[in-house]
Structure formats: C-alpha cells, structure tokens
C-alpha cells in the first residue's frame, strides 16, 4: 500500500532493531521534511489549497507571508460554511489577519450545528466559530456530534468529531467522544506487527493521530494507545516519502506536529550519523536523537546501558553516557580499547517521561588496520636432507630472489597478522595465496590457515598440487590477499616469484582455455520404435481361418435340420429381429466411430424396444407349450379382468 523508499532506508543505515521493544523502522529524514515543506509551499490556486498550505506549514513551524491574507479575503464566500472554515483556519495561522464577520455569517455557522448536518459540516462550522472567536454552545455541539457518530459510523466522520471536540470548552461532557478514540484504535489494521493503519488509507491514519492527540491534550487525559501502537502508527504514516495530494501532505504534517509536541507520547528517532563504525581515525560514535520532525530533543540524555562483543558476548561498557555536542550525541568508544569486530549496543534515551521507543539496539563495527609480521618464505626439501633456507620479506617490498621448487621440494610460507596499533593477533576472514603465471595467464588460489598460536602457514607441495597447475612449469608470481569487513586496509601484496618445475612429460602441449560456454553436442531424440508386426499375408490367412468355422456351423445346422419354420410374422417378432440386428450393427458402429457414452445411449433406445418386442414374442411362444385348457383359462381370466 505504501511504496517502500529503499533509497531512504539506506540513508537510515544499518540499524539492527530488536523485536522486543518496537522502534520505528520508518521516519522522516531532514530531506523528507524539506520535501514536505516544498509540497506545502506550492503556490495555491483556491481557498482550500491555501488552507492546506498555510495551516500545514504553520504545523511545521513555518509562517507564510501576509499577502496570503488578501488572497483569503478575496476568495472568501461568506455563504458557504466550507469556505468560511478554510478562511478562518488559515487566517488564524497567519499573524494579524482578520476576516470580517457579519451577523448573517455567525447565524449561518450556528445553524449548521445540528443533528441534520453531516459530521464534516459540524466540524467546519465549529472550527470556524472558534477560529473567528465567536461564542458557541458546547453542549449542543456534543449532542449533535453524538447523534452524527451513531448515524455515520465511518472512520473519517468520527475523526472529524474528535477534532471538533478538541475545540469545545473543557466543561462540556466530552467523555463519550473521548471513548471513540479507543474504538477507532481497535479498527486499525495491524500489518505484520510493523504497521498500523486504517484501510481508508494514509490520510485517515494521519488525521486520526492528530485528532486523537489534540483531543487528549485538550482534556488532559492520556490517549488509550500503547507504546507499540504509537510506533506502528509512526511507521505507517512516515513510510511514504512523496505525497499524492496536498491534503495528504497536510495530514502527514499535522500528524508529525502532534507526535512531536503533545503531552503524552513523543516518539524518539535515533539514527547514527554516518555508518555506525568507529576506528582509531574516527573514535567517536555519533548519534542523532530527534523527534519525528527531525528536530533535536533538547531535554534528552543518552546512555549506553550495555555494550557487548557479538562474538564473545563479553561486556565492554556499562552505563556510559553520551555527550551532546552541536546537536549530536557522541561517545568515544575507542577509549575503551575494544578489539576489532562487531558490538551490540543497548542505548537508552531518558529525560522526559513522554518519550516512546526510547530503548534502541545498535550494532557498531570497530575497524582496525592490519600489519603483516614475520613473513618467512622457504624452500624445504622433502626428505629433510638439506636444511630450509628462510628468507624474510618486509611488507610491501618484494623478495629479491625468486624461489625454485621442483617435485622433490616444498615451498613454505609463514606469517603473522596483527593489529597495527595494539599488536593483537588477528584472524581475518580472507587470507588467500594466489599464484599467477604471467605467461599463460593461469591463476591458482590457495587458503592460508592459522594454527593454534594464530601463526599463518602455507605449504605448497609441488608434486601433490600438480593437477591445479596442469603440470605447467614456469615462473609464478605469488600474491598474498588479506581482507575482512573490519579491516580498513585490505592487502594485496606481491611477495615473491616462485619458479615451479613439474615433470615435463605431463604438461599438455597447448594450453587450452577452459571452455565452459561452447555449444554442447546435440542430443538426438530416439522416437519409440513401432512394434514388430507379422507380415500381412499371415494375418490375412489367419483371418480367413478364424472365420471358417462359421461355415462348418452352417453345414452342421443344415444337417441337423435346424429350420425357421416356426417363424410367425407377427409385428413383435419382426420388431424383435430388426431390433436385434440393429444392436449388432450398433456394435460394429461402436467399433469404428462411437465412444462408450454414445453407444450406451443408442443401446438403451434400441435395447428397450428389442426387449419389449422380444418379451412379447417369447411370451407368445411360451403359450404354445402350455396345455390347451390352461390357455383357455388364462385367456378367460384376462377377459374377465379387462371388462372391469
């Protein structure tokens, strides 16, 4: 819903925020506040935009020139409550701007305060009346508002009711309206535990915040919002850094003004100035502690409750105060002589009971410079018959002579990495030894490992490692690479030249560059072979053979004297035989054309006809087998029944 300004989150830096106590993830930086001012300072075209600009800028503490007064007076329409509202509010923000008020105007405004006007109209008339200094009956307003709240149950109407109530006299019964703050807060949507906003949008959320705090300040009762909810509201309202409309910018400015200056909750924004990193050249950790409008908090005192190393969890600092200098809080962390690495700081901001989110967790990096000591290079014979010749090389010079190693010898290197200032041994993340063959362009990289005493060792066994080198003999330049996040001076040092000799017959004739991105051989797809079928002659012969027993059947039946002499030509018989033939024909058609469903459909039709006809036919046939008197009785029985 709100676009995430990744650019400004980078500016906000690498603050690791604890989930135990919520701290703001989004806030306005000075650039954002300047942009907000610019949006509100755009030249206005009508009274409404003049209202937003003038009143919005006054909330940010900027006051506009007096020419605006003339503009307001000339654009005022005394017969419109809305116009009067804009003019009255804007003139109140300007110094010495008077709006002429007639009796009709006052009557119009007073008449608008009733149950029949909308909450927005009531808000506008009450605000205009109070801005113009005209008397109004607070109790009437309260009852009108209560009636409107129950009729228009939407969020914006209730917010306007809250704003209106903050203009009324403190003696009026504002208790019920005050309870609406809690009801509205319950309607906020919690997104991921980070944002709290109305589904109506940013403007509604921001207007809610400013209305709730202005009413709470007016009746001097703490609003029923928990600290976490306040921070979530801050995240929602200030996550959007460019505003679509003047009214949206106005609502954000109102919310920012009420959050930075109310009697109950003041959210604190803590951000490190520059990266949260210290080193010997920059020993001070600098923090900016401001309110939501990026104004420094004058009454704050910042304290480090505890600082411990992330790796070893040992505490370095306890209850150390920051000193305020030029609006920035700073602490000389290097004075505690921390070893290089990351430290988890827990910072508390005290000084005012209204501060919200005043416990912040920070991750601070301590960087240092590394120095290489005791770099010793030697060529050792494998059978240890000849003692090693050790050459010491000083950084950043290169060894004068090159080292020769063939398959009977090992090349060895030892060194120490220490902190330049303290002399403490370091184990950076990256300590690589790179051998580069200038002629062929080959490059082989090894890792140098520290032993238990933090002394780095590197050994090259020529015979063992010949596959990495492709057995290519030649001069290799040896580089040492040292790097780490906490090192200020990463090192790339050409230490020496090493001449490696491999057995010549294993070397490839030509050096081939690694071919990773050439086209691969094409894959031929093998389609499924059709099954082997017998020759057509054989299958035709067998088809004839299989059909031949039918002839045999006919011959046998003829010999036995099977006949159709009892074939009666009654309609049911004919229908039966036709139906039966049709079913057999349907079977053939099923084989060639149809699917099961169609076949079943046709079979049902033909089958039922055949069944009925066949039933009749067979029943007639059955009667023939019965003795004659039974047939007569049966027919008599039938006729008796059908007479009735």
């Amino acid at each position: 819903m709100y676009p995430f300004e990744g650019l400004f989150s980078l500016l906000v830096l690498s603050l690791v925020l604890e989930t135990q106590a919520l701290t703001p993830t989004h806030h306005l930086t000075t650039t954002d506040v300047a942009r907000l001012q610019a949006v509100l300072s755009q030249p206005f075209t009508d009274l409404k935009s003049a209202y937003y600009s003038v009143v919005g800028l006054s909330k940010l503490g900027i006051f506009v020139a007096d020419e605006t007064c003339r503009f307001i007076n000339s654009n005022l329409d005394p017969s419109s409550v809305e116009s009067l509202f804009y003019a009255a509010e804007a003139s109140q923000a300007l110094s010495g701007c008077e709006i002429p008020v007639s009796n009709d105007t006052r009557d119009l405004l007073l008449a608008t305060v009733s149950e029949d006007s909308t909450a927005s109209q009531i808000h506008q008339s009450v605000s205009a009346l109070s801005a113009l200094g005209l008397p109004l009956a607070s109790q009437e307003v309260v009852s009108a508002l209560k009636a409107r709240i129950s009729k228009e149950d939407n969020v914006l109407a209730i917010i306007l009711a809250l704003q209106t109530a903050s203009r009324l006299s403190q003696q009026a019964e504002l208790g019920e309206i005050l309870e609406e703050i809690e009801d509205l807060a319950a309607r906020l949507d919690d997104l991921g535990g980070v944002y709290l906003q109305f589904e109506e949008g940013l403007e509604a959320t921001a207007l809610f915040v400013s209305a709730a705090y202005s009413l709470s300040d007016h009746v001097d009762m703490e609003p029923p919002l928990k600290e976490d909810q306040v921070i979530q509201l801050v995240n929602s309202i200030f996550s959007k850094k460019s505003w679509d409309s003047l009214s949206e910018a106005f609502s954000v400015a109102s919310a920012a003004a009420s959050l930075s200056n109310n009697r109950f909750h003041v959210p604190v924004i803590v951000s490190a100035q520059g990266p949260a990193a210290v080193s010997h050249s920059h020993p001070f950790l600098q923090l900016q502690v401001t309110d939501v409008l990026c104004q420094p908090l004058s009454s704050a005192s910042v304290l480090v409750e505890s600082a411990s190393a992330v790796a070893s969890k040992s505490a370095i600092l306890n209850q150390a105060p920051f000193t305020l200098r030029d609006g920035v809080f700073e602490l000389n962390f290097m004075a505690s002589q921390p070893a290089s690495g990351y430290y988890q700081f827990s910072v508390a901001i005290t000084g005012d009971s209204r501060f919200v989110a005043n416990h912040v967790e920070l991750k601070v990096k301590v960087s240092t410079r590394v120095a290489i000591n005791n770099m010793d290079l030697s060529v050792v014979d494998k059978d240890q018959s000849i003692g090693p010749k050790t050459t010491r090389v000083e950084y950043p010079t290169k060894a004068k002579a090159s080292f020769m190693a063939d398959s009977h010898q090992n090349f060895a290197m030892t060194f120490q990495l220490v902190d330049e200032t303290t002399g403490v041994e370091l184990t950076p993340h990256q300590t690589f030894v790179r051998l580069h063959n200038q002629k062929t362009g080959q490059e082989v990289v090894f890792v140098a490992e520290p032993d238990s005493k933090n002394l780095y060792k590197f050994e090259l066994d020529t015979a063992e490692r010949k596959t990495e080198f492709d057995s290519i003999s030649g001069t290799y330049a040896l580089y040492l690479m040292v790097g780490d996040a906490t090192l200020e001076n990463p090192i790339l040092w050409n230490v020496a030249d090493v001449v490696l000799k491999f057995l010549d017959e294993e070397a490839p004739g030509t050096i081939q560059a690694k071919t990773l991105y050439v086209p691969k051989p094409e894959i031929q797809h093998l389609f499924r072979e059709p099954e082997k079928k017998p020759p057509t002659v054989v299958s035709n012969a067998f088809t004839a053979l299989v059909l031949s027993p039918f002839l045999l059947l006919l011959i046998l039946w003829f010999k036995l004297g099977a006949n159709i002499s009892n074939f009666t030509l009654s309609p049911s018989t004919i229908l039966f035989h036709i139906g039966h033939a049709a079913m057999l024909g349907l079977m053939y058609v099923y084989w060639t054309h149809l699917n099961m469903f169609q076949t079943l459909k046709y079979l049902a039709i033909i089958g039922s006809l055949t069944f009925l006809a066949g039933n009749r036919m067979l029943a007639q046939k059955a009667l023939i087998h019965l003795p004659l008197d039974t047939v007569v009785m049966f027919k008599h029985f039938l006729t008796i029944n059908t007479c009735h």
Partner: protein, 113 residues
C-alpha cells in the same frame, strides 16, 4: 486298453446321436464352432506374438464368454433338468442368453480397440 477306450468312445457317440434332442444338438454344434474359433485365435497368438495384446484378449474372451453362455442356455433348456429350473422357461433362458450376450459384446467391442 486302447480297445476299451475306442469302445467307450463309440458307445458314447451312439448314445449321443440317439438320445439327445435336436435342440440340444443345434446348441452343441454352436458350441463346437465357438471352440474352434477360440482355438484358432489362440494358435495365431502363439505363432505371431501378442501384439496387439488387447485385441487378442478381447477376441479370446469373447469366444470363452460365448461358450459359457451357450452352455448355460443348454443346461437350462435341457428337459432332463426341468426339475432344477422350474421358474425359468426355455424362452426366459433364451432371453437371458441374449441379454448377457449384449453386455458381453459391448465389453468386447470396447476392448478390441
């Protein structure tokens, strides 16, 4: 030994020819036809292989099924078995035979592919 076998067979054939009603002989001829058709299909499958297997199965099962249904009809029609099939008249047996054949042929044609 073979003598007695031959004499048994010839006696059987005589008895069959004389005492079996004509209707049953007609059905027996039909049974012989079905059996020969099935046997020839099986022989073809043995010679040439089982491709396409579904067609072979469908044809063979058709023969087997028809044989069984014809045997049932023969049993039910035989006047010597009248005592066991009091409620089923020969016409009813024939109707059952036709209905069962319809179902059998439906399945066979579906499977023959």
């Amino acid at each position: 030994m073979s003598n007695s076998v031959i004499s048994v067979i010839s006696r059987f054939l005589e008895e069959y020819a004389s005492s079996t009603p004509n209707k049953l002989k007609v059905i027996d001829a039909y049974l012989l036809y079905i059996m020969m058709t099935g046997a020839l299909q099986f022989l073809y499958c043995l010679l040439v292989g089982t491709f396409p297997f579904n067609s072979f199965l469908s044809g063979f099962i058709s023969c087997v099924g028809s044989f069984i249904l014809a045997v049932c009809l023969r049993i039910q029609i035989n006047p010597q078995n009248k005592g066991e099939f009091l409620s089923i008249s020969p016409e009813r047996a024939f109707a059952d035979f036709l209905f069962a054949h319809t179902v059998l042929h439906l399945v066979v044609i579906n499977f023959i592919g």
